[in-house]
């Protein structure tokens, strides 16, 4: 079994066309599933594979599928979440743009398993140029008999549509996404009922991330057991990592789960080390909402063991000294990065993106942005740091959807690990009024140190 499952053919010229994709083994999972497997059989393979939701939550995909209400007389829906908006994450865009048929194939095989007759790909509006790429691929799949009535003569029929959003991070939350798909504001719904029981148009619905759905293709081709051979423990298979920030080679990399973090950052196969010969200061490993870690804690956990790219290893130490794999949005900062300014951009992001439904998030994100703005711009006072911690605590756990937590965690973790740098901002306002202050003179600390490997 090849160890690059999703991106194996990504650089083949013409792979975005049906003919080339098919020539390289494309749509084999549809043939196998529809002709020789029952829908339950497909689900069993996904369960066996140990595949976990690749959008960020990491919930077992097969288990999520099994919650779908099959007794309901209403139609069932599969909705693909292509609303990729978590800062630092751009893997789904890469997949859809480069190898659109992989997603179409995954949608057909997964829809068959779930008994969906109509499926939607909800894609963020800013990716409008990819809507055209996907629609062209869908058109080709219809023409080749892989979509529409009586697919491959098996009696199974499926219609697949692309639905663009219009700019709202919150629509990546699955119930907000469904509201948006129904033509409404993206306000998350109270759960229960869960989408598996009452989702799109109050019918049983599964919402899966792009990468999760594409992973179903190799799982069916090679079998769930084979897929589960890759990885470590409960982190099975491969994962797309979006690498950005102060590295030599930003981009999307498909890794086997279990790769050491140090190898990912420094190997020429992946990030290629820190740019400009500088030292590593901090990493946000799983998209902007996961806790930031200083260099020494991202390379090794608090026990001194090497940190691996797995859900468990990155989580080791909880929120005291660990973080999360999240969406795989891997943002790297060198020794000149200002933690406060970076955090302020995140706080501004969450304030902008809060849907406004829950007061703690609507008001709290605004306060965090304001307070961080004044600290970063030399107007902070010594109480502001504790005020931030207090506001973050009051948001966390007190909102309908996880956006509140997502806004609170970066603030809490940045202060936990880089408190001295916040204090420095308050103490030396004249220095920090220059936004490039640390570029000239990197911040030195007694509690953390930038690392040169």
């Amino acid at each position: 079994m090849p160890r690059t499952l999703l991106l194996e053919h990504v650089n083949v010229p013409g792979i975005e066309t049906f003919d080339t994709y098919r020539k390289h083994g494309g749509y084999a999972s549809v043939e196998k599933a529809l002709k020789s497997m029952t829908p339950d059989g497909v689900m069993e393979e996904v369960k066996k594979s140990g595949l976990r939701g690749r959008g960020g939550a990491g919930f077992p995909a097969g288990l999520k599928w099994s919650f779908l209400d099959r007794k309901s007389e209403r139609p069932r829906y599969l909705v693909c979440n292509a609303d990729e908006s978590e800062p630092g994450t751009f893997k789904d865009r890469y997949l859809m743009e480069k190898i659109p048929h992989l997603l179409i194939e995954g949608m057909i095989t997964s829809s068959y398993a779930l008994g969906a007759k109509t499926s939607y790909i909800y894609i963020r509006g800013e990716y409008m140029y990819i809507v055209r790429i996907l629609e062209k691929a869908i058109e080709e799949a219809y023409a080749a008999g892989f979509l529409g009535q009586n697919i491959l003569g098996t009696g199974y029929s499926l219609d697949l549509y692309v639905h663009p959003g219009a700019g709202a991070y919150i629509c990546g939350e699955e119930t907000a996404l469904l509201e948006s798909l129904e033509g409404k504001r993206g306000n998350p719904r109270l759960k229960p009922p869960f989408p598996a029981v009452a989702g799109l148009y109050a019918a049983p619905t599964v919402v899966n991330n792009v990468e999760t759905i594409t992973a179903v293709v190799p799982i069916i081709n090679f079998g769930g057991d084979e897929y589960a051979q890759i990885g470590v423990g409960k982190s099975t298979g491969t994962k797309l990592i979006s690498a950005s920030g102060h590295i030599n080679k930003p981009g999307v990399y498909e890794i086997e789960l279990g790769l050491p973090v140090e190898e990912f950052i420094y190997s020429d196969k992946y990030c290629g080390g820190i740019w400009k010969g500088r030292k590593l200061k901090a990493v946000v490993a799983g998209g902007s909402s996961v806790p930031i870690l200083p260099a020494h804690l991202i390379l090794k956990n608090a026990k001194g063991e090497p940190r691996l790219m797995t859900y468990e290893s990155l989580g080791e130490g909880g929120f005291v000294s660990g973080t999360m794999l999240g969406s795989g949005g891997f943002i790297v900062m060198d020794e000149t990065a200002c933690i406060v300014r970076n955090l302020w951009t995140f706080a501004r992001f969450y304030h902008h993106e809060s849907c406004g439904q829950c007061s703690p998030c609507r008001e709290g994100t605004g306060w965090m942005e304001k307070v961080l703005h004044r600290i970063e711009h030399g107007h902070g006072n010594s109480d502001d740091i504790d005020l931030l911690v207090d506001v973050a605590k009051k948001i966390e756990g007190n909102t309908i959807c996880p956006l509140g937590d997502a806004a609170a965690w970066p603030v809490a973790s940045a202060i936990r690990h880089f408190r001295e740098e916040f204090e420095y901002h308050v103490k030396y306002p004249e220095k920090v009024m220059d936004p490039k202050h640390f570029e000239k003179e990197p911040f030195r600390s007694e509690t953390f140190e930038s690392v040169n490997v």
Partner: protein, 168 residues
């Protein structure tokens, strides 16, 4: 006020993607079409027209149009320049790109040039962190930006002198 025949046919096609009676689902895609066809923004008249087309109440259109960041509720320049400013882009120099655009166009973020050609806007993460800094103009992403690349783009847009839309 009315869509062209071609767009009207497209609207009917979009409505058919959703179950009968669920035509409200077509609202977001149809608003994109409306913005592209009616001068790059959604005036109250345009929103009322879309409400009529989809047989929903005007308020249902207003509440959606005011929620999503890609819908413009005021007129914008022919070319709307949207620069990403979130963390990963900031780490790679988006502040410098914004400052360069402000000085080159002689406007501040949120303003339109006096000739009505450019509107400058900062936006939150567009999913282009690995090719930062970046900006979006119409449906096109301009990535790995340098000030030289920005200058060349402005020149190209000026020469073309056409409205950019997400639907291109």
């Amino acid at each position: 006020m009315q869509f062209s025949d071609k767009t009207l046919a497209l609207v009917q096609k979009i409505i058919k993607r959703y179950p009968e009676g669920k035509q409200k689902s077509a609202l977001l895609p149809v608003l994109h079409l409306a913005q592209a066809e009616f001068d790059g923004w959604l005036s109250p008249d345009v929103m009322d027209y879309v409400a009529g087309l989809l047989m929903i109440k005007p308020i249902e259109v207003y509440e959606v149009a005011t929620f999503y960041s890609m819908y413009n509720l005021k007129p914008v320049g022919k070319c709307l320049i949207e620069v990403c400013q979130t963390g990963p882009c900031w780490l790679r120099g988006s502040d410098d790109i914004v400052a360069h655009l402000e000085s080159k166009l002689n406007i501040k973020v949120g303003e339109t040039t006096s000739d009505g050609m450019f509107t400058l806007k900062t936006v939150e993460c567009l999913g282009s962190c690995g090719t930062a800094p970046m900006l979006q103009c119409g449906s096109k992403y301009h990535e790995n930006l340098t000030t030289d690349k920005v200058d060349a783009l402005l020149q190209q847009l000026t020469n073309k002198n056409e409205r950019t839309t997400y639907m291109q």
